[in-house]
Symmetry: C2
Subunit: 205 residues, 2 copies
């Protein structure tokens, strides 16, 4: 049976590392930034441009103003869409294709929403305490603790805005996911083992 | 080592049943409605009145209008507080006393917030899919599925409003808790076992 694990995560929570280790231990493919190259290949969009729009919100207000002015009531076609929406749709398609190929771990990109009809999809959310996240980012990016704190807030605002705009759920609300874990409680490796245990319990059920 | 488990829960998610079973399996006391009798005994308030204010929000707008009109800038003392706030404070004290006595499971009543300084406090949130919750409530309360759906929405609004008013966190947001689980994924007993496994992993750490 295929098991698709999607991971939403707060910036600095270690969600990416956890996702990668879960995939390794289960021996299944892992997609985070890896998704972007695949989207580029399948959509024909340039990878650099996809990166620029990756998990960033559409400026929907400006978009709507422009569309209302020029569309005169006609349906706006793909060609009239802002680039961020085209990139979202291309990612959406690629996420579904990847899930159809077999078990995998997909991090971010509203993958849980794209796969909401898939019965064997397990949707996780990984988060952490403010201090722990800033500590991780300050070490990884070589910035001050205070700068790291600001980066965490800013990136999570972008992710939240992107997720809430494109999906029908709320980013970071427990009931948008099947299981949500503070990665600081058991640590990165402890959380990996705990998630794998959850997957095994589900498969046994 | 004492382990205090607090459980926030959506109405109809089975959080109460899960809390009770976790407490039984760990051989530790369980407090849900049981807390109210204890609060009555310790505070001197009548139990019926405590029940009426239990996990219901203060009408803070009206309260503030009245207090602004009559207090003329003086600090309002306990005697001037609305009854709902007095009940909250009494519950707050009792939750701390109970936690000081040893390991236990406490359901609701902002217990996680009251015990935010306790290092061995594990804060859980249990939730479920709309259909599953309405099904459970309709069977338990002998009401129609549609009535049960309405009850779920209404009760959760009260709980959310109570929690957000008295605590510094947001009810139902993943990062207000250590671990959040959809009880429908593993079922009631499966979720109980999974929580106990989490407690053991924490104790081993």
């Amino acid at each position: 049976m295929n098991t698709i694990i999607t991971i939403g995560r707060q910036y600095g929570s270690g969600g990416r590392e956890i996702g990668k280790k879960v995939a390794e231990k289960l021996g299944i493919p892992y997609f985070d930034k890896e998704l972007l190259a695949r989207v580029a290949k399948e959509s024909g969009f340039c990878e650099e441009m996809i990166k620029n729009h990756d998990e960033r919100p559409t400026n929907s207000f400006l978009y709507n103003v422009v569309m209302d002015t020029y569309s005169f009531g006609y349906n706006t076609a793909f060609v009239d869409m802002p680039m961020s929406q085209k990139v979202f749709l291309a990612q959406f398609d690629t996420v579904k294709k990847i899930a159809n190929e077999g078990s995998c771990v997909i991090v971010g990109r509203c993958a849980d929403y794209a796969l909401s009809d898939y019965p064997n999809c397990l949707n996780l959310f990984i988060y952490g305490k403010e201090e722990a996240k800033a500590q991780r980012i300050s070490e990884r990016q070589n910035v001050t603790f205070s700068q790291a704190k600001d980066m965490c807030v800013k990136r999570d605002k972008q992710r939240q805005s992107y997720y809430n705009y494109y999906s029908n759920k709320k980013w970071g609300r427990a009931d948008s996911y099947d299981l949500c874990i503070d990665s600081g409680k058991l640590g990165i490796d402890g959380t990996v083992d705990f998630i794998i245990d959850f997957v095994k319990r589900l498969e046994e059920k």
